[in-house]
Amino acid sequence: MKGSRALLSQALSVMKSNIERTGDPLGFQKDYWSSWAEGLELPRQGKIMLLTGRMYQMLPYVSETTNMVTRMKPLLAVRSAGKILEMGRRLAGEKAIRLKARGAKEIKKRGVSALRGVVSALKAAGIVPAYLYDEEPYSGVLLYDVGLEKEVIPHAEKVHGLLKRHGVEEVITLDPHTTFVMREVYPKGVRHYDLRVRHYLEILTEKGMALGKKEQNDLPDRFVIHDSCVMARDLHLTRQPRELARSVDVEISEPENSGVNTACCGGPVEYAFGELSCRISAARSRELVKECKQVLVSCPICLLNLSKHERELGMRVWDLGEVLDRAYLPRASKTDSNG
């Protein structure tokens, strides 16, 4: 708590400056957010646009800097916030951003798998969304969360303008935070806002997707499901992740504090109060593993924060997108395998 004001001053200033300067909360100018889509051949124009908001793609860099900060002494909490931001600025200038920490590399792999899994499932449902690749914008949700509402709207106007120039009418989001800000915040400030915003879970469950396991059978039989706070209490999407997961023939268990009563992963305060965030994610992780050590989430923030306790608790955190990536079986092949 001591030094909070100074720490928050720094964090908010840099966040604001990064987004104003580069459009990216990490301040990165070099494109790190589109390599996951290599080989998918998604069109760049289209009425239906995939919008990742760069959320999954940011995870490894957040993980890398958090690792660095946790190695610092607690007394340097205020200075460590400055260090994170310094590193961000340094990385932003680098031509090649190398991830050193093993945890960061692993989370990158999972993020890529999650994103690709969602696209595979959408394609199987007959939807080939467009994707902006290196032009893809960040949604600005972090600005809203920290109260910099005035700054969100100019950013939102830019995002909206970009999407409209690409002929977009509907946006498919992959994470709850981007969904929330584009559905609830953008309409309040962006002029002539008429974008339809839908989360991939809403689309896939509407389509009644039936997927089967891959032949390698490399998915656990049972997961305990962790609902993201934003997903459950802001977007009211609790039935959908369960339906989609069950359609993959895995058993879903409920932890204590589930659905609309879900307990937070601690993610939203990690940027400023890492120790508090870690206590919360540890408490939630312990609650989850009481039920099962394979944890299923559908939010990149939950993925990052709960996965910090994997080694300690012998658990593995899966994003639902990863499950889709492994379990996806094209309809024709499924029929063949059933026939």
Binding site: M1, R5, G147, E149, A263, I280
Partner: protein, 112 residues
């Protein structure tokens, strides 16, 4: 909305809180702080109210109170069923709107 209008709105809304404290135990930051009430949704609302009324200044403990909130809305679920049906997280978030500019500018401790 002007700053003055925002302050008035917040004071009016927070004034509806009856201090029933049902929102205290469900708050994850309260639970993981061994039960310090200041770090609960109730504590945050009361601190924000005192800030708005000018009895507290924007220093470390208030900054921490406002920004350590996870915005997870667990408090709102219980306030809706047993309390005054306040949008607690939204009020705290608006509190952040009120102070964020000052934080960014790094101005000294002051009354809002």
């Amino acid at each position: 909305m002007t700053i003055h209008e925002l302050k008035e709105l917040l004071l009016k809304e927070i004034g509806r809180c009856r201090a029933c404290r049902f929102c205290v135990d469900v708050c994850p930051t309260y639970q993981t702080s061994q039960g310090v009430e200041t770090f609960s949704s109730f504590g945050r609302l009361q601190s924000l109210r005192s800030l708005l009324m000018g009895t507290l200044t924007l220093e470390d403990s208030i900054s921490y109170a406002l920004y350590s909130c996870l915005q997870c809305k667990r408090c709102e679920v219980i306030c809706k069923s047993k309390g005054q049906n306040l949008d607690i997280c939204a009020l705290i978030q608006k509190g952040r709107t009120l102070v964020s500019q000052r934080l960014v500018e790094g101005v000294g401790h002051e009354r809002i």
